[in-house]
Amino acid sequence: MTNTSTLAPRGGGRASTPGRRRSHRPPRASGLPAWSIPYVLLIPGLLVIGALLLWPLIQMVIISFQKVGLVQISGKKPATWVGLENFTKVFENDIFWSSLRNTVVFAAIAVPLTLILGTAVGVLLHRLGKKMSLFVIIGIMFAWAVPPVAQGMIWRSLFDAEAGIVNWALNLLPDGLSNALFGRANWSGVPWLNDAWSIYMALTVCVVWAGFPFIAVSVLAGLKGIPAELYEAAKVDGSGAWRTFRKITFPLLKPVFAVLTVLSIIWDFKVFAQLYVLAGTTNREAYNLSMYAVTEAFKAPPKMGSGAAIAVVLTVILLIVTAAYIRQMFKQEEL
């Protein structure tokens, strides 16, 4: 309905168009010069993006320099400027540094793992027969489709101390081997989701499991675009699988990998739902920047200013990464 009403004024051109036109030029919409049409079409989208993304983004930066607590939220008092106080307080807090470390280390491990596993599966899919390939694609599609909250639930249950499969599987290891590797033979009741490091291990497994299918399917799509003759020629020349990948596949798919890498970095830097389910909000040692920003802003009593300051740090990191992403996208031209 909105669609019709937005367009109606320009649609008036229909009635006033007298008979057949000779020129190939599009008809002028009534009352609007042709050059203005794209701008008119853009207005609704720009309004939404401006009002709901850009304005809040600017607001967030402003709030990061203000004190916004309960009285300010209720509107009883105007927000007061505190300069850099939010930032200095946040930077003095150990939780900020452990959150930053958790965020960066997690991304540094999860992103390459997802990319390597995804690429390997993509190459595998390309070499499998048609039926087998479809079978595997449908399987990995399930892992990819599970909502993030449900992903967290699944892995929380698998890493459960009492009833989890992970502990059951580790108990299957021969005691000697288990002792040699991990220094313990009995895994019953080991609580994985108490310590920050083991929470992040579970999170890594969860995110890599849910993330590799997208990489695999994208790589497969890229591989299908590479002419088969190139591979046949390589085969004739006696090139091995690894050499073929390094000399043909990787260079040709470089733009694909660049985009996939940046997307994965963005996703893994701001992972929230899975961590929220796996760790909850009470374990401050296990916060990443997303979780820290949100809990700091909404805890009792709320500290929106400090929360915004942390969110600013996260956004700046993501902006730097995205700059590389946008450059890559525009290098491809033909947008």
Partner: protein
């Protein structure tokens, strides 16, 4: 085993075995979620590995459908999620189509900055928007309202919606529109009668993407809604972690119910989502 034929057959078997392994690794956790929802409690709370529910039960499913969480059945939360997701899709689709037509059909000043803006917008973390949006939603009286949630979801899904839809609009041959113009159709008629039907499949794909995103979203729903009768599924699920312990049967039954629509939609548009996400990088 030395002959090339035998070696090739061995290679083929190894590849297929790897394929089956990947399949199992991907599917097992999903299978675990589904099967746990149908296991009796004595089979869930055990240190043994019970591969499939031998004490098969609908107990958890009926429990979450009738009692549910916090005195409300799962249906209520599913309905709330559906309202938010459908509202997001309906509003978002109109805006996305208009903007996508502008960038795909016209070359105008400011087009490149707008495309860059879309890419930047996709990166902005929801956590960063949450604080100002919370304050804004509160000021507008939309706090604790599904409409407030819909508005924020439109914002979060629109940039990618436009980005994805523009490739569909661009794929419609311009000559078709020109033919309509020659026949004296107005711009609006051309848009409605020629472009729209051809872009419809793309609009469906984009809408499904927005639907899934809004259906899955946690942060906004967590902090913009306080009233339990307005919880969405991702928020409601948290309340199965009770003080008396974790109700895994109920969690897994509800998680499965939440996942079913996503999986169905996903299978419909997965290819389009891939090409949308890596558009510009993957040619063809």
């Amino acid at each position: 085993m030395k002959s090339p034929l035998a070696r090739r057959r061995l290679g083929k078997t190894a590849l297929n075995a790897a394929g089956v392994l990947v399949f199992l690794v991907a599917v097992f956790p999903v299978y675990w979620m589904v099967s746990t929802g149908f296991k009796a409690n004595d089979q869930i709370f055990t240190t043994d590995f019970i591969p499939f529910p031998t004490h098969f039960t609908f107990e958890h499913v009926t429990r979450v459908l009738t009692d549910g969480v916090a005195g409300h059945s799962i249906w209520l939360y599913m309905r709330n999620s559906a309202i938010v997701a459908l509202g997001t899709v309906l509003i978002g689709a109109v805006f996305a189509l208009l903007s996508a037509t502008a960038v795909a059909r016209f070359r105008f000043k400011g087009r490149t900055p707008f495309l860059a803006l879309l890419l930047v917008a996709q990166m902005i973390p929801a956590e960063a928007l949450l604080i100002p949006l919370f304050l804004g939603v509160k000021r507008l009286g939309l706090y604790d309202q599904l409409l407030g949630l819909i508005v924020t979801q439109v914002a979060l899904t629109l940039p990618f919606g436009i980005w994805m839809l523009r490739t569909f609009v661009a794929a419609v041959p311009k000559s078709l529109e020109e033919a309509a113009w020659i026949d004296g159709a107005s711009r609006f008629t051309t848009f409605w009668k020629v472009l729209f039907p051809l872009v419809a499949p793309g609009l469906v794909a984009t809408s499904i993407f927005s639907f899934i995103t809004a259906w899955n979203e946690l942060i906004m729903a967590l902090y913009l809604i306080n009233d339990p009768t307005k919880y969405t599924m991702p928020v409601a699920l948290q309340y199965f972690f009770g003080q008396k312990g974790t109700d895994w049967g109920a969690i897994m039954a509800s998680s499965t119910m939440m996942t079913i629509p996503v999986v169905i939609f996903f299978l419909l548009v997965q290819r389009r989502m891939v090409s949308g996400l890596v558009a510009g990088a993957v040619k063809g």
